[in-house]
């Protein structure tokens, strides 16, 4: 029983980082109807920025995070302007391939610049581990979870109360009406890319402090599809709930079946959900008209 609780806790806590990555996907999807296959690479790029600032230039961790966020924002703006802007309104397959191409470019550039070896990244926050009776949760997992919770909380407040947040939500729910009400949709879409880049960078830094940083980091982001499909592509709440659910399930399956199952569980989940409930738990069902 204590084993079950330990696996569950580990899973729920690691679900926090999934929620962050999923948030990055959902932000972009809601505002621009694009699934960003490059989010893993954005994560990785952001983590490398942090690594460069902190380890190579010796900036203090907090300032390094800020520097990384600023640089990833600039890069997100460039990506949006050069790649996504000219392709807006194109068929799904074109936009999808454009983000895959973007992923390939970022991956190649990161590997050319920083090499493909794994490097250690010092953690920006102090770590503490949790002990519940005889159940132990490692410190890095707890810190990551706490950081994810704080960040998601901040984002919810931002979306709920700030004027910019309301603008973003309006753009997401109905771009045309939002435009007639005087909202600059292009600005909102650009902003959603920047925000997704920021969320991704923080997720990347958190993951890389726990397990080291190498270009392989980006591959993990693809398994977050299970989360966003389960939660529904356009629901932030769904993404959070689904992230915890998927994290829990993964940990249970890995714990009882074996580590190899980690590669396949998210995708089996995706297929299952798509067959049973294609628009996820909280997603909006799309109605098509001619």
């Amino acid at each position: 029983m204590s084993e079950f609780i330990e696996f569950s806790l580990l899973g729920l806590f690691s679900g926090g980082v999934y929620a962050l990555i999923a948030l990055g996907f959902v932000l972009i999807y809601k505002c621009t109807r694009v699934i960003n296959f490059a989010i893993g690479e954005v994560m990785m790029l952001g983590a490398y920025f942090y690594y460069t600032a902190n380890v190579i230039f010796g900036v203090s961790p907090l300032e390094a995070v800020v520097l990384a966020l600023i640089s990833i924002s600039i890069f997100s703006l460039i990506f949006e302007y050069l790649v996504l802007r000219p392709l807006s309104g194109q068929p799904v397959v074109s936009v999808l391939m454009a983000t895959i191409g973007l992923a390939s470019i970022i991956h190649g550039m990161v590997e050319a610049t920083w090499g493909s070896d794994t490097v250690n990244v010092p953690r920006p926050f102090p770590s503490m581990r949790l002990i519940f009776g005889d159940v132990l949760v490692p410190g890095s997992v707890v810190t990551n979870f706490a950081a994810a919770v704080v960040l998601i909380g901040l984002f919810s407040v931002f979306f709920r109360y700030s004027k910019t947040g309301v603008t973003l939500r309006a753009t997401a729910s109905d771009p045309v009406t939002a435009a007639t009400l005087g909202i600059d949709i292009r600005y909102a879409q650009r902003l959603s890319w920047v925000l997704a880049g920021i969320v991704g960078t923080i997720a990347g830094v958190l993951i890389s402090t726990a397990s080291g940083l190498s270009p392989l980091l980006s591959a993990g982001a693809l398994s977050v599809f299970a989360v966003i499909i389960l939660g529904g592509l356009d629901s932030v709440l769904g993404a959070i709930v689904a992230a915890l659910a998927v994290g829990w399930m993964e940990s249970i399956v890995v714990g009882y079946v074996g580590g190899k199952a980690r590669d396949v569980v998210p995708y089996l989940t995706v297929l299952g959900i798509l067959m049973i409930r294609p628009y996820g738990l909280f997603g909006t069902r799309q109605i098509e008209r001619l």
Binding site: V83, A98, S104, I105, E111, L222, L233, K260, V270
Partner: protein, 346 residues
């Protein structure tokens, strides 16, 4: 010169090569191409064979994605299924001319299974469903050791025709390209049949297509079946070509590579598939040769080859999407038009 082509019958208007000149040029090209093993170097021949194998898979993907508009990210996994089926068929002593269609049929079955979600979801959701299928299948390739040989891979016995061993690039060249021509011809003719037009109708607006009387269920699954049949045959040929394969060959990257090839070549066109497959296969080779040449001046360049290849790959995809959405096929058509209309301006 190709001047004054006047069609007098519908048959002549519909024919694939519609003028005397075109037929003559194509015949010369075909003769020169089929004689390639006589004068081509080993390197050229090996590259051409690989292009041929990729070409079959790309044509198949173009039927699924280009013609029918269903995004598939699992073409590489389908190829893997074909490859392992051929490996087993060859072990049981089934000759290649039965083994290849058999592998194709088996892959088509898998393709239909993977295509099932396309009945409920489309667009991005379908892309993610096929992505999931790709990862699940490659997991099977790695872990189902009794069938696939696991990470170590599997050996494929040689193919024999009338007691002659089909080994070496020169003999396999004819095997590969007879498959290419057969399947290519089939794909060319597809767009002139009811099925092909139904595919295009589904791509352009599936609800309208259904109202017009196209059976969506049948059209979508048939597209997946056909596309994965092509992939299965390509995978089988790949098995015969290399003689041994490991599951890493059929990874997600290869699926993306195929999708990139149809975008660079031109969606929904067989000519586009040909150009795209050749172009995308040759670009890394050109890069490799270029770095080899530049080595005396930039010694550090060799280590950058792989990342640079990725960057070029991405730039090509995005560049074509933005500046030439109809791909190389459109460039080809423009060049041809310029020749036909010369000296008038296009």
């Amino acid at each position: 010169m190709r001047i004054g082509v006047f069609h007098e019958t519908y048959a002549s208007e519909e024919s694939l090569l519609d003028s005397q000149t075109q037929r003559a040029v194509f015949a010369v090209f075909l003769a020169a191409f089929l004689a390639l093993p006589l004068y081509g170097s080993d390197y050229v021949l090996a590259m051409v064979c690989i292009v041929g194998i990729h070409l079959i898979a790309v044509i198949g993907l173009n039927i699924i994605t280009g013609n029918t508009g269903l995004i598939s990210l699992s073409q590489a996994a389908f190829m893997g299924v074909g490859c392992y089926s051929v490996a087993w068929a060859a072990r049981w002593g089934i000759p290649f001319y039965f083994a290849l269609p058999l592998a194709g049929a088996l892959t088509a079955l898998v393709g239909v299974l993977v295509g099932l979600p396309s009945l409920r979801v489309k667009g991005l959701y379908l892309a993610i469903a096929t992505l999931a299928a790709q990862f699940i299948l490659s997991f099977c390739f790695r872990e189902w050791e009794s069938v696939t040989g696991g990470v170590g891979g599997i050996r494929i016995p040689r193919a024999y025709l009338f007691g002659i061993e089909l080994s070496g690039d020169r003999r396999l060249f004819y095997l590969i390209f007879s498959c290419v021509f057969l399947l290519g011809l089939l794909a060319c003719n597809l767009s002139r049949t009811y099925v092909g037009r139904a595919f295009v109708a589904v791509r352009d607006r599936d609800i309208s297509a259904e109202i017009l009387g196209v059976n969506l269920l049948r059209a979508k699954l048939l597209a997946f079946a056909m596309g994965s049949f092509y992939a299965g045959v390509a995978g089988g040929l790949l098995g015969y070509f290399y003689g041994a394969v490991t599951p890493t060959y059929f990874d997600f990257g290869l699926s993306v590579f195929y999708l990139a090839a149809i975008i660079v070549g031109g969606l929904g066109s067989v000519l586009g598939s040909v150009l795209g497959a050749a172009f995308m296969t040759l670009v890394p080779e050109v890069l490799r040769v270029a770095t080899d040449l530049a080595r005396p001046w930039f010694p550090g360049l060799a280590g950058l080859l792989l990342p640079m290849g990725q960057v070029v790959f991405g730039v090509l995809i995005i560049g074509f999407l933005i500046f030439e959405p109809h791909g190389l096929a459109e460039i080809w058509a423009r060049v041809r038009r310029a020749f036909v209309l010369w000296p008038a301006k296009t």
